[in-house]
């Protein structure tokens, strides 16, 4: 990740030119009525790094996540996925370019089995037409066959192997989180945005998810972790961005940000 001080001038001087980080957020702003939810936020997430985004309730973290992933549109600013500007694209187009996300609230497909959840996340989406359903069965079945192997491997790694035929809605909260992450990985992303993945998880599951996130980072994913749990963010993140009232109030290495007076005032003093 590049610090905000370094980012500003570079993007100013090369406006319109593609930046090189996996994900670049450049002076993004969003207001709801008179409330400025996100106010000129800029930072980058490089491939193989994990950036933690922290802040109190109402800081604008989830709004920023929506702006990056496409469920909300920016009032101003730009979002780049590698060398492609994506802030004007719809959610599904951003996803097809390699941006995956998990949601703050569990968003598994409840009436699909765990295996089906993962297959929906895969490149089988290219086969999801009525015409291909009827005329190209052999083609999609061959592809599905390969993807089932990959899905099973992922389920094994996420300790969900015994659950592949269970409805996702029947799983525990922690297992649903893991299904969501595994499903996102099936889409072969370059950038993964995780919106409070630890919310509601037991300490054991938090530890489990933490291990998986560390592995993903080591494999070259660019990870943006939006999280309330400062201990987890501190342990995992290469860099931390702290937000308050829609603005970035601190940014840098973990100790640096958590030692910041303003951040201390929010997280320690209350």
């Amino acid at each position: 990740m590049v610090g905000i001080g370094e980012l500003g001038p570079r993007l100013d001087s090369t406006r319109g030119a593609p930046p090189h980080a996996a994900l670049t957020i450049d002076r993004v702003a969003k207001a709801f009525g008179g409330n400025q939810a996100v106010d000129g936020v800029s930072f980058q997430v490089a491939a193989g790094s994990l950036v933690g985004l922290i802040g109190p309730n109402g800081a604008g973290k989830s709004t920023l996540s929506g702006l990056v992933c496409g469920s909300l549109r920016c009032d101003s600013g730009e979002v780049w996925l590698a060398d492609v500007r994506i802030d004007t694209l719809s959610t599904w187009k951003r996803a097809r370019l390699g941006l995956a996300r998990t949601f703050q609230l569990s968003s598994e497909f409840q009436r699909l089995t765990v295996l089906e959840n993962l297959l929906v996340g895969s490149s089988l989406r290219q086969q999801a037409t009525m015409w291909k359903a009827v005329t190209a069965r052999r083609s999609w079945q061959d592809q599905e066959n390969r993807l089932i192997q990959r899905a099973r491997q992922l389920l094994g790694e996420f300790e969900l192997a015994g659950q592949e035929s269970s409805y996702a809605g029947e799983l525990s909260g922690g297992q649903r989180r893991l299904v969501e992450i595994a499903r996102a990985l099936m889409s072969e992303p370059t950038v993964l945005v995780l919106d409070e993945p630890m919310a509601g998880l037991s300490p054991h599951m938090v530890k489990q998810v933490t291990v998986h996130l560390e592995r993903l980072r080591s494999m070259g994913f660019a990870l943006l972790l939006i999280e309330h749990n400062v201990a987890v963010v501190s342990a995992l993140s290469d860099r931390i961005v702290a937000m308050s009232q829609g603005r970035v109030i601190a940014e840098g290495a973990s100790e640096e940000v958590l030692g910041n007076d303003e951040v201390q005032a929010i997280y320690v003093a209350g």
């Binding site: 599904w92 009436r111 989406r125 086969q127 999801a128 009827v134 079945q141 192997q149 035929s165």
Partner: protein, 336 residues
């Protein structure tokens, strides 16, 4: 008696076809189409317009915006195409612009508007009287013979099998899985790269074409077609087929169709006591009670949506290895 059984069987088959079309929209894609009957109406009118011709209009002292006499099965094919095109036009507006929970109201209003429009202007589609003397198709040499109804049942039976095959192929494929996924969580499906609007639109067009097919066959079978055949209350019976049989279950629709036709025919044979409309009134009340009871006590129907089988699973089970796990997912970006 044999003829009555044949007609009942024909109606069961038609409600099965219509039920599957609605089931794909409602049970699989999650679109509550309270205007479903509108597309059946379109199918019936299209067959009438492309079958009667000017001679047929004159013979029945009927008015229409136009009419040509085309041989079977061209009118029914045109009906299916027109139903699909109309569904596309409606779907583009309703599925894109209207919130999912409000789509049902908009579609119901649309079907009511169409009903009032057709009824108000006799020069368009002969108003509330509708069309009569629609010639039945000649199938081999069986027309007007004693076995004609059974020949029709046979032909529609083959058509039913074809529609079943299409719907089954659709629901058990990545397309059906994607439809069910966006039904469960639209935002999640979008975040995985699915254009949920086009997914829903495809299901909506298929359902519209299917309803038009049913309407066209009904028009041929009844030899008449008027607004009373596609009143908004008729949509309720198609929903009853799906709700009683099992939302999202193709086999359940078969049972639902038998229940609905059984109920309708049961009241049709009721002796007239007091009002001649008593049977119809009691039938509607009874059907309403059945639906309410099912929604309250067994909302998933007699045969709930089953756990869908992943088709390639058996093959995948038999092939060892070949999996790359997270590593393969890593940076192997394959943007479409």
């Amino acid at each position: 008696m044999s003829s009555l059984i044949a007609i009942d069987m024909l109606y069961v088959l038609l409600f099965m076809i219509g039920g599957w079309g609605l089931n794909l929209q409602f049970g699989t894609a999650g679109i509550i189409n309270f205007g479903y009957i509108l597309f059946e109406g379109i199918g019936g009118y299209t067959v009438a317009l492309f079958t009667l011709g000017s001679k047929g209009l004159v013979a029945g002292q009927q008015q229409a915006i136009f009419s040509v006499a085309l041989p079977f099965p061209i009118p029914i094919i045109i009906a299916v195409v027109v139903g699909g095109i109309f569904a596309a036009l409606v779907g583009v507006v309703v599925l894109r612009r209207v919130r999912r929970d409000q789509q049902a109201i908009v579609l119901l209003v649309l079907s009511l508007m169409a009903l009032y429009f057709v009824t108000a202007d006799p020069s368009f589609l002969n108003g509330s009287i509708g069309f009569a003397l629609i010639p039945q198709p000649i199938i081999g040499s069986a027309v007007a013979s004693a076995t004609y109804e059974w020949v029709v049942v046979g032909v529609v039976g083959v058509l039913t099998l074809i529609i079943w095959g299409l719907v089954r192929a659709a629901t058990e494929s990545p397309f059906g899985r994607a439809l069910r996924a966006q039904r469960d969580n639209e935002a999640s499906a979008e975040a995985l790269g699915y254009n949920t609007f086009t997914l829903q639109l495809r299901a909506f067009i298929f359902g519209g074409a299917t309803a038009a097919l049913v309407g066209g066959i009904f028009a041929y079978s009844l030899t008449v077609w008027s607004p009373s055949a596609w009143g908004y209350g008729e949509t309720f019976y198609f929903f009853m087929v799906v709700i009683v049989g099992g939302i999202g279950n193709l086999g359940g629709v078969v049972v639902g169709a038998v229940v609905v036709i059984g109920l309708q025919q049961g009241f049709a044979f009721m002796p007239n006591v007091g009002s001649s409309e008593l049977g119809v009134v009691l039938q509607t009340i009874c059907a309403s009670i059945v639906v309410v009871v099912f929604l309250a006590l067994r909302p998933k129907g007699l045969f709930p949506e089953r756990r869908h089988r992943v088709y390639s699973l058996d093959k995948a089970d038999s092939e060892p290895g070949g999996s790359d796990g997270i590593g393969a997912c890593g940076m192997d970006t394959n943007a479409n």
